[in-house]
Amino acid sequence: MARPVRFNIHPIQADIKDNISLANMPEGYTGEGFFASRLSDVVGLARKNSIWPMPFATSCCGIEFMAVMASHYDLARFGAERLAFSPRQCDLLMVMGTIAKKMGPIVKQVYLQMAEPRWVLAMGACASSGGIFDTYSVLQGIDQVIPVDVYVPGCPPRPEAVIDGFMRIQDLVGQESVRRRNSEQYKGLLQSYGIQ
């Protein structure tokens, strides 16, 4: 039996408030005409909702990432509207796909060209650990050449997983202390990768 055709005869009127997600106010003291809060919270709030990702897609994870950016999953909802293809403008390096050993220096070069503060998300089994390519030609995880903030497992990960990983990046960005990048620990981390 044929399915009856349904018409949307009672459409819900669009409400602008449904389309805007409002960020919660950071903790602080508020009074008449003033609001006092910590600078790092305000900076973090601004940063985490306007991350510019730098896609470094080499294989099938890159295809999945296209779905993340497209209308169904829509990473733009999280403020990552603007993919930049110049590392100098970007905050988040998203490495998606198998990185061969010959590609390693290029990933590192892109990372070095990004300005601080910068974050790195390794998407998929290959970028995180080499994945199934346990072989002489493949880098066994990009954390051998650059520090990684969030690993998204999967082969390839579902777009939901990528969004989850991205939201964890947002948490890191939002809670980061303003002085973290000057700390001895952070400098030591970069030193361990041979980055000044």
Partner: protein, 167 residues
């Protein structure tokens, strides 16, 4: 008259005699073995001969036979006669201690990169090659990964438990 495998074989034997051996025709592809020092002479003859005209090098690679003492590495040439559309294949064997084989770059320009690849993966030293260095692998690599004495897996990993991977 179309060129046949028989004709090619007869011409080769007439020219080189007993030096060529192991004539076979698996799947209709004429295959034989030549001594290592003769690879250029055989190719030059196949290239220049007015009837044979094998003027296209389809493929050049190597095979590692670790069990064959003194002839561990086989360099395989696939030649193509584009006029008569007929192919042949021949091998030269070389010991892995001294894997020197004359380069085919003077005859076939396409041998340049293929010999670099063969050097990259098997360490065959092509004597006379204009630029014999690695082409696909990283320059820092210190071994020839397709030789059987080297494990396929990346050896820098410490987090993989061999028992979990059936090794």
């Amino acid at each position: 008259m179309a060129l046949t495998n028989e004709t090619i074989k007869d011409r080769l034997i007439a020219k080189f005699g007993e030096q060529l051996s192991h004539f076979e025709e698996p799947y209709g592809l004429l295959t034989f073995e030549a001594p290592r020092d003769l690879n250029l002479k055989v190719m030059q003859f196949l290239f220049d001969d007015q009837e044979l005209r094998f003027q296209f090098l389809t493929d050049l690679t190597a095979v590692h036979y670790p069990d064959q003492q003194g002839r561990e590495l086989a360099v395989v040439y696939h030649l193509h006669n584009l006029t008569d559309n007929i192919r042949l294949r021949f091998k030269v064997f070389t010991p892995s201690e001294k894997p020197d084989v004359f380069t085919a770059t003077q005859l076939y320009s396409s041998a340049n990169w293929m010999e670099r690849e063969t050097y990259d993966f098997y360490g065959v030293n092509f004597v006379g090659h204009p630029n014999l260095k690695r082409i696909l692998n990283v320059d820092e690599m210190e071994y020839f990964p397709m030789r059987k004495e080297f494990p396929l897996e990346d050896q820098t990993r410490i987090d993989k438990d061999d028992a979990m991977f059936g090794r």
